[in-house]
Subunit: 309 residues, 2 copies
């Protein structure tokens, strides 16, 4: 299937282009970007123009930041194209619901991706947890923003989510793993006095059966980078490490054979092909809802200015 990639930035080059090019299902037929370009294919600046003249391309994948993304997604859906969205699927929950409605009306597929749910050990962790009682779940998601998000101004601006941009990956795994939905009880958001969005967040959730569920997100981590979810149950303990790539059960590292494709993004694109072929959409807004709830309920603490360089 021909696909157009819209927004040629870091995540497109690091993940989307290799995943598409290594796939037998997909063919990268066009790129749309204001300033990036992909060698060997047609590049466009004007998305509406591309939609009009490239009727051979029925599928688009959007990787630009969340705030401008809605207009592109809606234009694509209304032009009868299937749409895949990088996470987070939008800048508000309500706009995502509008996109889902538009996909239904236009009888096309929309796929709100959560790439961390495709991390290697997440399915095995979910299987292991099934039927067990959660006593404690702790997200520790601490990375160096200078290393992973260099010069990404949008990520600090209103709607850019700040530390929730990586943190939503942890929330997407948590909501995938837990059988019972949790909801936020309290939160503090540490916001640099020169930025709109938090550099750190401390979140405490209510679990319906009393499990102690909390999250520590921090962008000020130098040295070892931590993307860990620790889970204690009534029948043993499980830890996901490296964002779900590794799993330790009762102090023993466990691997899974049940992997057909290698890598989060190849699995996302395989899933998207399945959805289109099945005439289905998938748009789970739970992780974004949790972030919106954190901004709604969270107490804001002003912290020292963040100067990138």
């Amino acid at each position: 299937m021909n696909i157009a990639l819209v927004g040629i930035g870091k995540i497109a080059r690091d993940q989307h282009i290799p995943a598409i090019n290594n796939s037998e299902t997909w063919s990268l037929a066009a790129a749309v970007s204001r300033n990036g370009a992909v060698d060997g294919i047609e590049n466009y600046v004007d998305f509406h123009h591309m939609l009009e003249i490239r009727q051979d391309i029925r599928v688009v994948s959007l990787t630009m930041p969340p705030v401008p993304r809605f207009d592109f997604a809606m234009a694509a859906l209304n032009a009868g194209r299937h749409v895949m969205l990088e996470k987070p699927p939008g800048s508000t929950v309500s706009e995502c619901q509008a996109l889902l409605n538009a996909a239904h009306q236009n009888r096309v597929s929309i796929y709100a991706t959560w790439h961390s749910r495709m991390a290697k050990m997440v399915p095995a962790a979910k299987d292991w947890l099934s039927g067990k009682k959660i006593k404690r779940l702790a997200i520790i998601w601490k990375e160096d923003v200078r290393r992973w998000h260099p010069n990404q101004d949008w990520i600090w601006q209103a709607g850019g989510l700040g530390v929730f941009d990586p943190g939503i990956n942890a929330l997407s795994i948590m909501t995938e793993l837990l059988e019972d939905p949790v909801h936020l009880k309290s939160a503090t958001l540490d916001i640099p006095e020169n930025k709109d969005c938090p550099i750190a967040a401390h979140l405490r959730y209510v679990h319906p059966h009393g499990g102690d569920v909390h999250a520590e997100l921090d962008w000020r981590q130098t040295g070892d980078q931590i993307w860990t979810i620790e889970i204690e149950t009534d029948d043993g303990n499980l830890t996901l490490l490296d964002g779900g790539a590794r799993m330790v059960i009762n102090d023993v590292e466990t691997t899974s054979d049940d992997i057909l494709l290698n890598g989060e993004y190849p699995r996302l694109y395989a899933k998207f092909a399945e959805l289109i072929n099945g005439g289905q959409s998938e748009m789970d807004l739970t992780p974004l809802q949790h972030v919106a709830d954190a901004f709604l309920l969270g107490r804001r603490m002003t912290t020292e200015p963040f100067i990138e360089n």
Copy 2:
């Protein structure tokens, strides 16, 4: 039907108690409060104790602030009681969804009320707008916080919503009136430097057919108090005044005969009785979702400290 009222504060005394006492359907059988008490009925401090010993009371109405409300609502639902919630229905969208699930599981009714939707002219305005194309909708909601929310500390604290506490009333009317859902495009939130929540907000929405939809919320209004929604359509103009109590169509004030009960709260309690008798729930979270989206996407501007007295 016997009903217990939980949280005996200003809104309970001003609205809920008169509405219940003037109703032929309802009988106020108990009150639960830490410091308030209602003459002539049994008063309780411990809600769980009341639920246990007053099996004759199958219905509770909760009027305490949103942050503590969840625990009371969940306890009541799990004790098999029907539950009515003052607006906003909770401190996060996710916790409201958990309450709705619990109501279904316990086969009881839950009613998330939006009292402004019961304002006298809202149904007539909705009828008049039906089928018309919206060109412009402007919410102007400006009141004096010192006058309407004296000593309500919780309203300024994280989760208290600030100016969105009255503003959500306007959003509840807007979402009731509009046939097509809107979503937030941009927002600024003015937050006093000594408070957690905004004292003013400026909201701009995307309307799917291009209508210009925006809202101005402000708590610093002295003199005339303004709770107005102005609507321009392709077939005339409509203005709701005084929070929906009055309506002007094409410069002529219009009244409605189609009113069976007088007042917003009597109509809420009548609707709740209908829901219970029909075995139904109503929990439209759209207004709260819009507020969460405003906190998620809104740009925070620090303004001068707010000193109440």
